[in-house]
Amino acid sequence: MTTASEGVAAGLRARPPSRRVSSFVQRHVTLRLIALLSLPGLWLVVAYLGSLAAMLIAAFWTTNDFTGAVVHTTTLANFKTLFTEHVYRTVAFRSVSVAVLVTVVDAVLALPMAYYMAKVAGPRLRRILVVAILTPLWASYLVKAYAWRVMLSGDGVVNWALHPFGAHGPGYGLTAVVLTLAYLWLPFMVLPVFAGLERIPDSLLEASADAGARSWQTFRSVVLPLLFPAIVAGSIFTFSLTLGDYITVNVVGGTSQLFANVIYDNITTGGNLPFAAAAAFFPIAIMVGYLVAVRRTGALDNV
C-alpha cells in the first residue's frame, strides 16, 4: 500500500502548479461558489442594496427652508407632505393611470404579434421578426421621443394622415405620453410573451380544438392562463419603466406632469434631495403591491 500511495503522491507533485490549484478548487465546493459569486454579490450588496438603503435613510431627513442645507434629523415630514398635499395625490393617480394604459396597450399589441412570431411564422421569418422587434432598442431614447414630438406636432405626419378623414391627432398631452411610452416599451412586452408562447406546445392548442373549442375559447381557456406569468413579466417592465419616466412627458406631454417629474424637479430646481428620496418610494411601493397582488392570484405557482 505504501508504494502505491507514494506513487500517487509523486504523480501529484509532478503536475504543474496551475493544475494543482484547479484540482484543489475542484474538490472544495464552497471555494468554487465564492469564486463564482463574490463579484456579483459585492455589486448587489454595495451598489444595489446600499444605494437603496441610503435613499431610505435620506427620505427621513429634511432641508433647512432658509439655507437649503440637509438637516440630519429623523422625521416623517416628507411622507406627511406627500400624503396630505392634494397635488401629489393627483399626480400619483395620473401616473398610475398612464402606466396601466401603457401596459394594456402594449399587452394588446404584443399578444397577436408574439403569437404570429411563435406559432405561425417559419424559423427564418421568426428570426427576422425578433431582430425587427429588437432594432428600435438600439436607437437613442431621446431621438425616438423627439420623433414622436415631430409626428404629433400641428403640421406633423399624424395630423396630415388623419386630415382626409376629418379627424386630427391627439396633440401634446397625456394621450401623446401614453402613445409614445407604449411605443418605447413595446419590445419589453413582446419578448417575454413570445418566449412564453414558444414554451406552450402546439399539441395543447390542438387538444383544445380537438375537444371542440374554437380559436377564441382556446385563447381564453388555454393560452391566456399559461401565458399569464409571461404577461406579468412584461407588465413589470412596462409598468415600472413608465412610473420612472420623466423625459417623454416633458417632450410630448405638454403641460402635464407625472410622478417622476416630482422626483426630478426636487433634485434639480427644488434642491430638496430628502423629499425626492421620499417620493421615490412611491413607485417602489406600487411595484411591490402589484407583485404581491399577482402572487396572490396563484398565477405564478406553475412558473
Partner: protein
C-alpha cells in the same frame, strides 16, 4: 346536414385517394382506406411513413393536398377539428398543465356548455372507467406517466366521439406498463364499442391490439388486413420483414434451396436447428450450414445459421422447447429443417 353518402362509403372512416405534401416532401401518397364501425384499427409503419399524418388528417389538424376524408358518411375534408366527431389521445398527452384532472377531462363538456352537474357526473364516470377515481383534484404534474395517459384517454372518451384517434398512445410508457395498457385499451374498446384508430411503430402492439391493421411505408399503403393474415401472408418483402422477423430469400439461393425462382419468406420460429447427423423426417425440407451465433433472450433462444447455399437465417425457439437441439455450440455444423407449408412465396 343532408349530404348523400356515396355507395362506396361503408365504414366509419374513409380516406379516398388522400395525398399530403409538406413543401417538396410527399408525406402521404394517394392512400385509400376504409375503417369499419367499431373496429380496433392500427396504422403501423416506421417513423416518417405517413401514418401520423393520416391520423392528423382524420382529426382535422392537417388538410389533405388532394383527396377526401369521410367520417360516418360525411365529407369532412375541410371541416375544422372542433366540428368533427373525433377525439384524439396525443402522443405527449397534451394535458393542460394549469387545470386539475377533472378540469382537463371536463374541458370538452365545458366548451360545449354542458350543465355543471351533468359535467361532474360524466367526468366522475369516465374517471372510473379509466380507474382514476380519487385523482380528480390533482394537477397533471402530480401524476405518473401511466396516470397521465389515462387522463388523456378519459378526456377524449368523455366527449363520446364516434372515432377515437390514438397517436402512439403507449410510446412514452415503460415496457411493463405498456403491455398492461395494451390489454386494458383493448378491453376498454370492447366496453365502449366505438372505433379506435391508433398509430404505432411497434409491430407487437399492432398485432396484439388491433382487429385489422394497415402497414405504411414511405407514404404508401403496403397491406391492409387482420394481424394473422398480415403475419402469415405478407404482401410484400417490406411487410414480411417489418412484421416480426423473416428470412427472405430470392434469386440464385432461392433456386438452390427451394428449387424455384421468386421471393420467399420463412419465419424464424418455423425453423428447427438439428445436429448435422440428425435424421430429417420425411415431411420436412432441410439445408445444411454452420451455427454462427447463439443469443439467449430469456424466453427465447435466437440462433443464426449461415447456410452453405449462401443466405444467413435466424431461428428462434422457446427456451423450454425440446424439439430443437439447444446444446449445439457456436461453430457447429448444423441442419435446418422446415415444413414446406411454412414457406411463403412473396412474389
Amino acid at each position: 346536414m343532408a349530404v348523400a353518402a356515396p355507395a362506396t362509403t361503408t365504414g366509419d372512416v374513409r380516406l379516398e385517394g388522400v395525398t399530403k405534401r409538406f413543401g417538396s416532401v410527399l408525406a402521404v401518397d394517394d392512400i385509400t382506406l376504409d375503417i369499419a364501425s367499431g373496429e380496433f384499427f392500427a396504422l403501423l409503419g416506421p417513423s416518417g411513413s405517413g401514418k401520423t399524418t393520416c391520423l392528423r388528417m382524420i382529426a382535422g389538424f392537417e388538410q389533405p393536398t388532394s383527396g377526401k376524408v369521410w367520417l360516418a358518411g360525411r365529407d369532412v375534408t375541410s371541416v375544422a377539428p372542433f366540428d368533427r366527431e373525433t377525439n384524439t389521445v396525443f402522443q405527449d398527452y397534451a394535458l393542460f398543465p394549469h387545470m386539475t384532472v377533472a378540469q382537463n377531462v371536463g374541458y370538452g363538456l365545458m366548451v360545449k356548455r354542458v350543465a355543471k352537474s351533468e359535467r361532474r357526473h360524466r367526468v366522475e364516470a369516465v374517471l372510473g372507467t379509466v380507474r382514476l377515481d380519487g385523482y380528480a383534484d390533482r394537477k397533471p404534474a402530480q401524476l405518473s406517466g401511466g396516470q397521465r395517459q389515462r387522463v388523456a384517454l378519459a378526456r377524449a372518451l368523455v366527449n363520446e366521439p364516434r372515432v377515437l384517434l390514438l397517436d402512439e398512445p403507449l410510446g412514452a410508457l415503460d415496457r411493463k406498463l405498456r403491455e398492461e395498457m395494451q390489454l386494458e385499451l383493448k378491453q376498454l374498446q370492447r366496453d365502449v364499442g366505438i372505433t379506435f384508430l391508433f398509430v404505432t411503430h411497434d409491430q407487437d402492439e399492432a398485432l396484439t391490439m388491433s382487429d385489422r391493421m394497415a402497414v405504411f411505408n414511405g407514404g404508401r399503403l403496403e397491406q391492409v388486413g387482420a394481424p394473422a393474415e398480415i403475419y402469415d401472408r405478407p404482401a410484400t418483402p417490406f411487410v414480411a420483414d417489418f412484421i416480426g422477423t423473416s428470412n427472405i430469400v430470392e434469386g440464385a439461393p432461392a433456386r438452390a434451396l427451394f428449387g424455384s425462382d421468386g421471393v420467399f419468406s420463412l419465419r424464424p420460429e418455423r425453423l428447427r436447428v438439428l445436429a448435422e447427423s440428425d435424421r430429417v423426417s420425411a415431411d420436412e425440407s432441410s439445408a445444411e450450414g454452420r451455427l454462427v451465433d447463439v443469443v439467449y433472450a430469456g424466453a427465447t433462444l435466437r440462433r443464426v445459421v449461415a447456410l452453405d447455399a449462401g443466405p444467413v437465417f435466424v431461428v428462434t425457439d422457446a427456451t423450454s422447447a425440446s424439439g430443437s437441439s439447444p446444446e449445439l455450440q457456436r461453430g457447429a455444423r448444423v441442419r435446418l429443417t422446415w415444413k414446406p407449408s411454412s414457406l411463403y412465396r412473396l412474389g
